[in-house]
C-alpha cells in the first residue's frame, strides 16, 4: 500500500518535472519567435531617439504664445582709426527700452566683439544681426556655438561674443549691430493643435455613442434568441413548422408585390404635400380594428374551436397596417427632413430625414418580411386543425412532401449565399449534413425493434448512424457541387446556363443544391411525420450563437477596413464597424444576463396563460433592464477606446489625426491627442463604473 502510494507520488513528481520542462521550452520558443533582442534597446542612437520622442510626447503642444520681435541697434565703426581715436563704447542707457552695447565700438573684419543687451525678455530667444551699408542682415552666430539663436539671462540681459563679418572695402564705414529679441504678445492661448484634437475628440465620443445606441436594439432582440433558457422550451410540431416554412417565400413574394405597393404608396402619401390628417385617422382606426379583432374574446367558457378565419384575416390586416404605418412614418420623416436648413433644428431635420430615407429604401424588404411572416403564420393556424387530425401513413406522406419543398427552399437559400464567395461554398454541404443527420437513426428506429426504455447501446448505434449520415451528406454534396474546386482554386460556380423565372434566376448550382435538399428534407420529414416535435428554439439558439461568435471574433479594425472601402474614409465607416462589433458583443453579454435570471416568474406567467411575448415582457424584461443598462454603459466605454484607434484605418475620430501626427513625426502634437484620449477614456471609465454600480 505504502509502496503504491510512494510510486504514485514519484510518478506525479516526474510528470510535474516533464510538464515544467515542456512549458519552459514552449516559452523559450515564444521568446525567440517574438524577436526579443536585448542589444537593440541599448544602442545609443535608439536611446537618443526614443528619449526625444518621449520628451516631445510628454511636452504636448497644448498652449501657444504669440511673439513679436523687438529690435535694438547700435552703430559700430569698421576698422578703428590708426590715430587711435577709437570712439568710446556706448554706455547702457539705463532706460527700460531694450538696448545693446558693443565693446569695443570699432572693430576689424574677423575680430571678436562683445555685445551686451539690456531689458530683453528674460529666458527667451534672441539673435544678433550685422547690418552693413548694403542694408543686408547677416546673422552672427555666438562664438563657439552653431545656433543662430541664444537665450537671454533671467534678468533680461545678455553678453555674447560675435565675430565681425569679413566684408571687403568696408574700412571707415559705420555698420549697425542689431539684436532681435522675442517678446510675448498677448496672453497664452490654446494651440491650433488643441482645437483640432478637441474637434476630433468630440467626433470620437459621438462616434462611440451613435455606434453603441445603434447596436442596442438589434443586440437586445438577438439576445433573446441567444439565451438558452428561453429558447430550449421552444418546440413546434414538425407539420406546422414545415407549412410555415414552405409559405415563407410565397409570403415574401406577396409581401413585396402587394404590401410593397401599399408601403410605397404610404411613403409617397407621407412625403407629399397633399397629406392630410384623414390618412392618419384612417390608419389609426384600421390599427384599432386589427387590435380588436386579434384580441381574444373574454368569454368565460373555454372555446377550443376558435374562429380561425377571423384570426387569419386579422393577421393579414395587421401586416397591411404595420407596413402602411412604417411607410407613412418614413414619408413624414422625409417631409420633415426638408423643412429646416438652419439652426439647431437643422440637425434634427437632417436626422429624421435620413431615417425617412432609410425607410424608403427598405420598404420593399420590410414589406417582404412582414408578408412572409403574416402568410406563414396564417397558413400555420389554418393548417393546425387538419394536421391535428392526421395520423399514421398520411402524416408521413404529407411530411415527405412538405419536407421536400422545405428542404429545396432551404438549400436554395443556402446555395445562393454559397455562390457569393468560394469559401461560402462550404455552407451548402454543412446544411445538407444537418438535414441528413436524422435519417439513418430514424430508419434504425423504424426497422429495428426497440426496447421499451432506450438503452445505452441503442443510443450509441444511433449516434454512429447519425454521423455516417452527416459525413455521407457532407461529402456527397461537396462532390456534386464541386466544393473542392471552389475551396482550392477559389473559383465560383458557373453562372453560364441559367433558367430565368420571374424575379428569380436559377443556376445549375442552385438547382442541384435544391434537388439534394428536396431529397434529404423529404426523407427526414417523411420518416419523422408531421406529428413529430421539432426543437426550433435549439436550432435558432445555435444559429444565433454561431453568428454572434463569428462576428465577435473579427476585430473592429478589420471591419473598419472593409467599411472604409464601402462608405469611404471618415467617421461613418467607424460607426458602422463599431456598431457591427457591438451588436455581436452586446448580444452575447445580454443573452448571458437573460440566462442568469430567476426562472420562477417565467414559469408563473406561463401558468397564467400568458403567451410567449407577454411572458418575456412581464417576466424577463423587468429582470434584465439593470444589467442591460450596465452592459450598455460598459460597451460605450469600450467603444470610446476603440473609436480612438479606429481612425488608424480611416474610420474617423481622433485616431485619424494621431496617425497623421505620428507619420509626420510631430510628437508634440501627437502628445496632445494622446493626452486627450487618456483624459476622455479615464473619465468615461469612471463614469460608466459608477453608473454600473448604481443600477446593479
Amino acid at each position: 500500500m505504502l509502496n503504491r502510494l510512494t510510486s504514485r507520488g514519484a510518478r506525479r513528481r516526474l510528470l510535474m518535472v516533464v510538464a515544467a520542462a515542456a512549458v519552459l521550452i514552449i516559452f523559450a520558443y515564444g521568446w525567440s519567435v517574438t524577436d526579443i533582442n536585448l542589444n537593440r534597446p541599448q544602442e545609443p542612437l535608439r536611446q537618443q531617439n526614443v528619449g526625444n520622442a518621449l520628451r516631445e510626447l510628454l511636452s504636448p503642444n497644448i498652449f501657444q504664445q504669440d511673439y513679436t520681435i523687438i529690435n535694438a541697434t547700435t552703430p559700430i565703426l569698421m576698422d578703428c582709426p590708426a590715430d587711435g581715436s577709437a570712439p568710446a563704447p556706448a554706455e547702457p542707457t539705463g532706460g527700460d527700452e531694450p538696448h545693446i552695447v558693443v565693446i569695443p565700438a570699432c572693430a576689424h573684419s574677423g575680430e571678436i566683439v562683445t555685445v551686451q543687451g539690456y531689458n530683453f525678455y528674460p529666458d527667451s530667444l534672441a539673435r544678433i544681426n550685422w547690418i552693413a551699408t548694403d542694408g543686408e542682415r547677416r546673422i552672427r552666430q555666438v562664438v563657439g556655438t552653431s545656433n543662430d539663436n541664444f537665450v537671454t539671462n533671467t534678468d533680461g540681459t545678455f553678453t555674447v561674443e560675435i565675430e565681425v563679418p569679413r566684408i571687403r572695402g568696408t574700412s571707415g564705414q559705420t555698420h549697425t549691430v542689431e539684436a532681435q529679441g522675442r517678446f510675448p504678445a498677448g496672453l497664452p492661448r490654446f494651440s491650433d493643435t488643441t482645437g483640432l484634437v478637441l474637434e476630433k475628440m468630440i467626433e470620437t465620443i459621438f462616434l462611440a455613442l451613435i455606434a453603441t445606441s445603434l447596436s442596442i436594439l438589434p443586440s437586445a432582440i438577438l439576445s433573446f434568441f441567444a439565451a438558452h433558457n428561453l429558447m430550449r422550451p421552444v418546440r413546434m410540431s414538425l407539420g406546422s413548422l414545415l407549412v410555415g416554412f414552405a409559405l415563407l417565400p410565397v409570403g415574401w413574394l406577396l409581401g413585396t408585390e402587394v404590401l410593397g405597393r401599399i408601403g410605397t404608396l404610404a411613403v409617397n402619401l407621407g412625403k407629399g404635400a397633399g397629406f392630410n390628417l384623414g390618412a392618419v385617422g384612417a390608419l389609426s382606426s384600421l390599427f384599432l380594428f386589427a387590435a380588436v379583432t386579434s384580441s381574444r374574446a373574454q368569454a368565460s367558457n373555454i372555446s377550443l374551436n376558435s374562429d380561425h378565419l377571423r384570426e387569419i384575416a386579422s393577421k393579414l390586416l395587421l401586416a397591411v397596417v404595420v407596413v402602411a404605418t412604417i411607410g407613412l412614418l418614413g414619408g413624414l420623416g422625409i417631409l420633415f427632413g426638408g423643412l429646416f436648413t438652419e439652426g439647431l433644428l437643422r440637425y434634427l431635420s437632417n436626422f429624421i430625414g435620413s431615417l425617412g430615407q432609410l425607410v424608403e429604401l427598405a420598404i420593399l424588404p420590410i414589406a417582404g418580411i412582414t408578408g412572409a411572416f403574416a402568410v406563414s403564420s396564417a397558413g400555420m393556424s389554418l393548417a393546425l386543425n387538419g394536421l391535428k387530425k392526421l395520423h399514421g401513413a398520411p402524416a408521413h406522406l404529407l411530411g415527405g412532401v412538405l419536407g421536400a419543398i422545405c428542404g429545396a427552399i432551404l438549400m436554395g437559400m443556402v446555395a445562393s449565399i454559397g455562390m457569393q464567395a468560394a469559401w461560402l461554398g462550404l455552407l451548402p454541404p454543412v446544411a445538407a449534413a444537418s438535414l441528413a443527420s436524422g435519417i439513418l437513426p430514424a430508419l434504425y428506429r423504424r426497422f429495428v425493434p426497440q426496447p421499451a426504455r432506450p438503452t445505452a447501446a441503442g443510443r450509441s448505434i444511433q449516434t454512429a448512424l447519425s454521423w455516417v449520415g452527416i459525413i455521407a451528406a457532407l461529402v456527397g454534396t461537396a462532390a456534386v457541387l464541386n466544393v473542392d474546386r471552389a475551396v482550392i482554386a477559389g473559383t465560383l460556380p458557373s453562372t453560364r446556363s441559367s433558367v430565368s423565372l420571374p424575379g428569380l434566376t436559377l443556376y445549375p448550382y442552385i438547382t442541384q443544391a435544391m434537388l439534394i435538399g428536396a431529397v434529404l428534407g423529404g426523407l427526414s420529414a417523411a420518416l419523422a411525420g408531421t406529428k413529430a416535435t421539432f426543437p426550433l428554439g435549439e436550432i435558432l439558439y445555435n444559429t444565433t450563437r454561431t453568428i454572434l461568435n463569428a462576428l465577435r471574433s473579427i476585430e473592429p479594425l478589420i471591419m473598419g477596413l472593409v467599411f472604409v472601402i464601402w462608405v469611404g474614409i471618415g467617421p461613418f465607416a467607424g460607426v458602422l464597424a463599431l456598431t457591427l462589433h457591438s451588436i455581436a458583443s452586446l448580444g452575447k453579454l445580454y443573452s448571458e444576463q437573460i440566462e442568469n435570471i430567476d426562472s420562477g416568474p417565467i414559469e408563473a406567467l406561463q401558468s397564467t396563460g400568458a403567451n410567449r411575448l407577454q411572458t418575456i415582457m412581464y417576466a424577463v424584461v423587468p429582470q434584465i433592464i439593470p444589467p442591460y443598462i450596465a452592459f450598455t454603459m460598459y460597451r460605450w466605454d469600450i467603444n470610446v477606446r476603440m473609436s480612438t484607434i479606429i481612425g488608424f484605418v480611416g474610420g474617423g475620430g481622433v485616431g485619424f489625426l494621431l496617425q497623421q501626427q505620428i507619420n509626420l513625426l510631430r510628437y508634440r502634437d501627437a502628445g496632445v491627442a494622446v493626452l486627450a484620449i487618456a483624459i476622455v477614456v479615464s473619465v468615461l471609465d469612471y463614469a460608466s463604473a459608477s453608473i454600473r454600480e448604481r443600477v446593479m
Partner: protein, 252 residues
Amino acid sequence: MLIIENLTKIYENGFKALSNINLEIPEGQFVAIIGLSGSGKSTLLRCINRLIDPTEGRIIWRGLDITSATDDELRQIRRRIGMIFQQFNLVKRSSVITNVMSGRLGYINPLFSLVNYVPRVEHERALAALERVGIAEKAYQRASSLSGGQQQRVGIARALMQNPELMLADEPVASLDPATSHSVMKYLELLNKEDGITILCSLHFLSLARAYADRVIALKDGRLEFDGPPEQIDNERFRQIYGEDAVEVEIH
C-alpha cells in the same frame, strides 16, 4: 371534474417521476398532496397545467383533454387554472400591482403588452384582488420589499386575477414560518369555501393537510400510496408514506 388517467412522466435523464397515476377530483374539493421530497408532487401538479409535458396518460378537465391541447388551446385552459409556488415566483423588481396584473395576461390582447398598456378595469380588478388578501396598502411597493407571507399572498392575488376554477399550489408554505403558513392556508381555504375553487395543494406537513384538506393524496416514488380523507391516516399509513423512521411533527 379533473380526471387523471394512467399518468406517467419519465424525464429525459431516465428518472421516472410519476408512474401510472389515476385520480378523479370532483369540483370544489380541497385536496392535499403529501409525500417525501422527490416523490413526484411537483411533477404531478405541473403536468396538470402542462408546465411539464407528461410522457404517457391523459388529463381531462371539464371534458377538455389538456394533454392533447394545442398551444393556443392550452393557454385558454391555463388561464382558468391558477398556480402558486413555494418560491412565490414574483418579479421582485416590479411593483406588487404589476405582479398581480400579470395574472390577467391570458385575457389581455398580447399587442397591448408590447406597449405595457393595461386596461383600467384590470387595474381595478388587481386592487380588489389585493384587498381580498389583505395587502392593498402594499400595491405600489416593490415585491422584494415584502415579507415571505405577504409575497405568497401577492401570488394568490395574481392567481385570483385569472378567475380560476382550479388552483394548483406547489408547497405554498414550505418557505414560511408556522404562523405565516396558517395565514396563507387560511386564504386558500377561503377561496375553496367562498368561491368554490377546487384546490390541489402539495404540503410537507401532514398536520396542515389534516387541518385544511377534505382529501389527502400521498405519493411515494411516483406511485399513488394513499387516497382518502385525512382522518384515515394513522401511524401505520404514516410510516408507509414517509418511511419507517419518520415521526409526525405537529405544526401549530
